[in-house]
Amino acid sequence: MKNLTGLLLVAGIVVLSACVTINIYFPAAAAEKAADKIIDEVWQLKGEQAAPQNDAPKESK
């Protein structure tokens, strides 16, 4: 049982350090996503993204 407690303790430390790691390193992929969203709004490029959705009704013809 003592071993198990130790194991849980180690697991807990691993989890905590993983969380800290996530926050310390710059989330490059998330940043790109955020940048794209903002740029689309500022440059009003949303029409291009909406285009595929407009294509959908064509199938019903």
Binding site: L4, L8, A34, W43
Partner: protein, 137 residues
């Protein structure tokens, strides 16, 4: 090892995966929203200058006058003001995004991410700076 303990251990080990899944940057703050709308409004005036090469995108996520001769003399001061105002907002945007996510030190990385994405999303014919100088997209 009893079953409950095993389950607990598995749950604890899986937690970081959840944290990864939730890793999105916060960009919905009032400050960021107001910067966005100011930049969107200004883009109406800047678009023509991007298109004729008067203004281009810089490597550091800002904009700069690329070819002043593309602008009539009387309008040049106006373009300079537009560029300065846009750069103020862009600098503020990068700073706000880093701050909104609790990491002011991310500003430089946010900026370089944006620098790449602005160029990526720029229209053909617009000018941008790369490592070797100005280039036309």
């Amino acid at each position: 090892m009893n079953k409950a303990m095993k389950k607990l251990l598995i749950a604890v080990l899986l937690l970081p995966l959840l944290a990864f899944a939730a890793a999105d940057l916060e960009i919905n703050t009032p400050a960021i929203s107001s910067l966005k709308s100011a930049m969107q409004a200004r883009h109406g005036q800047l678009a023509a200058h991007y298109a004729n090469g008067a203004v281009g995108l810089t490597r550091d996520g800002l904009i700069a006058v690329h070819d002043a001769n593309a602008v009539p003399l009387k309008d040049r001061q106006g373009v300079n003001s537009l560029v300065a105002a846009e750069n103020n907002d862009r600098n503020a945007l990068y700073r706000e995004i880093a701050a909104a996510n609790g990491h002011p030190e991310w500003e430089a990385e946010v900026r370089s991410t944006f620098a790449g994405r602005w160029v990526q999303k720029a229209q053909g014919g617009w000018w941008y700076q790369d490592a070797s100088g100005w280039a036309k997209k």
